[in-house]
């Protein structure tokens, strides 16, 4: 039995990862903002086989409470073996362009709150010389695009931060796994027309859990996104700025 802290536990990707861990009999500590859904998910994971489920209701943008969240998780389960950070919102790019507040809120939700958590978790895991930290970033962080560069730049920050953190913690036996999902069919992306590039959250979760098991460094989910993003990154800026993307 491993002890797993899932942050953003009501996100579809996190929930499906947690189902796999529950079926393995892991103990789960679930943190998210929506108390009603948190309770539904905790009951579900218990039936699916989780050794324990605990819930913690918090707005993750309230960074003053991050240390308390980690303390509570440790108090409930003891040493934590693994953390998945999965919370986030899909920014409304048009609204962000018209509002500094909106832009900064999105950056806070999708980057700064994650970085706050990572800073605290990294020090705790470094001290005990063990643990795995998995973070949901995004393919959107690989290159800013006109259609969602606020979200993309926040995720770029997460990707760069975890890259550095991975180097730092490598010598302390702590693994940092950066996960870059492509298009996933979840409530967050309900407004989008779905095509061939879209993946289901259970398939994405299976891939993510495997990447965490094998302590991969950086993974694209599904894997073909590596090729897609390699092409997008290779386009010279002189050209890229003319493309509608």
């Amino acid at each position: 039995m491993r002890k797993v802290l899932v942050i953003g536990a009501t996100s579809a990707i996190a929930e499906h990862c947690a189902r796999i861990w529950a079926a393995r009999g892991d103990a789960l500590y679930l943190a998210a903002r929506n108390e009603e859904r948190l309770q539904v998910i905790a009951a579900d994971l218990k039936v699916r086989g989780a050794a324990q489920t605990h819930t913690y209701c918090t707005d993750l943008n309230d960074m003053d409470r991050h240390a308390a969240l980690l303390d509570a998780a440790e108090a409930a389960m003891g040493d934590i073996d693994m953390v998945l950070i999965a919370h986030g919102t899909l920014s409304n790019q048009k609204a962000c362009e018209q509002s500094v507040d909106e832009t900064l809120t999105e950056i806070t939700t999708n980057a700064l709150s994650t970085i706050s958590l990572l800073t605290l978790i990294a020090n705790r895991f470094e001290a005990k010389q063990a643990g795995t930290i998995a973070v949901i970033s995004s393919v959107a962080g690989d290159r800013g695009r006109a259609s969602n560069y606020v979200y993309g730049s926040a995720k770029a920050m997460v990707t760069a931060f975890t890259s550095g953190l991975r180097q730092r913690l490598h010598r302390s036996n702590v693994a940092v796994v950066t996960i870059k999902p492509g298009f996933v069919d979840t409530p967050m992306t309900a407004e989008f027309k779905k095509g061939l590039l879209w993946a289901k959250p259970d398939a994405v979760a299976a891939h993510i859990v495997k990447a965490i098991d094998t302590k991969k460094n950086e993974v694209y989910v599904p894997a073909f996104w590596w090729a897609v993003m390699a092409v997008i990154r290779a386009i010279p800026s002189s050209r890229f700025k003319r493309i509608k993307l």
């Binding site: 079926a23 009603e36 859904r37 009951a43 039936v47 086989g49 309900a190 407004e191 027309k193």
Partner: protein, 440 residues
Amino acid sequence: MTVATHTPTTISGWGNYPTQEAQVITPLSPSAYQTQLAQHPSVIARGMGRSYGDSANAPVVLQTTYSDHFIAFDADTGLLNVEAGVLLRDILKVTVKQGWFLPVTPGTSFVTVGGAIASDVHGKNHHVAGTFGQHVVSITMLLGTGEVVTTSPTQLPELIHATCGGMGLTGVILSATIKLIPIKSAFISQKTIKAGCIEAACEAFEANSNATYSVAWIDCLATGKDLGRSVLMVGEHADSGGLDLTVKDPITVPIHTPAALLNSMTMRAFNHAYWAKASDKKTQTLPLLPYFYPLDAIGGWNKLYGKAGFVQYQFVLPKKDGVANMRQILTQIAQSGQGSFLAVLKQFGPANQNLLSFPIAGYTLALDFKMSQSTIDLLHRLDDMVAGMGGRVYLTKDAVMREVSFKTTYPNWEQFESVRQKYGAIGRFASAQSKRLGLA
């Protein structure tokens, strides 16, 4: 609470016929179902879209995909409480290893509990266990009035008897408690019996009426003395072998294959090979999933029928004169040359009290037809024959039945409508099928 909505999209049942432009809304919580119901004059709930025809087609559908949570399971009593969008497959993954199995299961595990209730599905054990609805302890549902109520055989009993088999027309099923059955093994011991004609097949069912599970593959293209030749498979839960459920992901049919691939020649060849390969009185042990759900191994097998789609036609004939009547219908189907290679014959036990539930004591036959105008004409002829013999057609598979056939063969339809009236369902819950069949 945020509500997930989708842009208009084309939906259909498993037979890919007929299709419908629909707004597919996927609520995240019970309160989100209420919000959506308040915003739309008429909706229908939709699970996996595994009913074959148009019973989950409507301009606005409430898809239960995100209502896929287990609520509670008592491994001492086998009582399971789940949200409506939980798949039978997911239930098995959780309960089999604890020694519990579904009391009734249809031929695919990729259906939701809500869908299984709305269709009052049956399985290979109908003759001893009845339908799925007969093992439902209670249902929590959203009514057309916006009210959420719980119904059981003792609590608003008329509502549960209209809802089990009610094709989603009484309200939106939010969650249900069902009673599972204990098992000692994740395996089934299966015996194969060959029957050379329809009379022999029905005798074999009679002779094996004590078996827990029984079903027959039937060659609908065979004629003359071979008419209705069948391979009967009877099964019992094994006592040994352990409780590990082997789950393999399906291989997937990626695209609609040219419909010409399935023609009368390939089907005849398949049926000959199947008959020749089966050996009489052979006993073998099979894991649960391949035994109950052989077709689940091929994801998207419905695409094999090409873009025009197909209908699965399932009817039941009363036991009295059932064999002779079945011979008449098989003759008609064999003459048409349109029957499929997937045809299934089964003996049903007695009917239940659910108002629109399909099974009645007798013989049921299910087979696929590639979609075409001549198929529709044939099915209408068969509908008339079935009605004349006192039988009826399964609403979960129906895509073409006319109103008159429905109202003749489901005599409880008026009582069904009065229950819907009483619970505010009239007009609030409707599907393409309910409109075609003349329900309000």
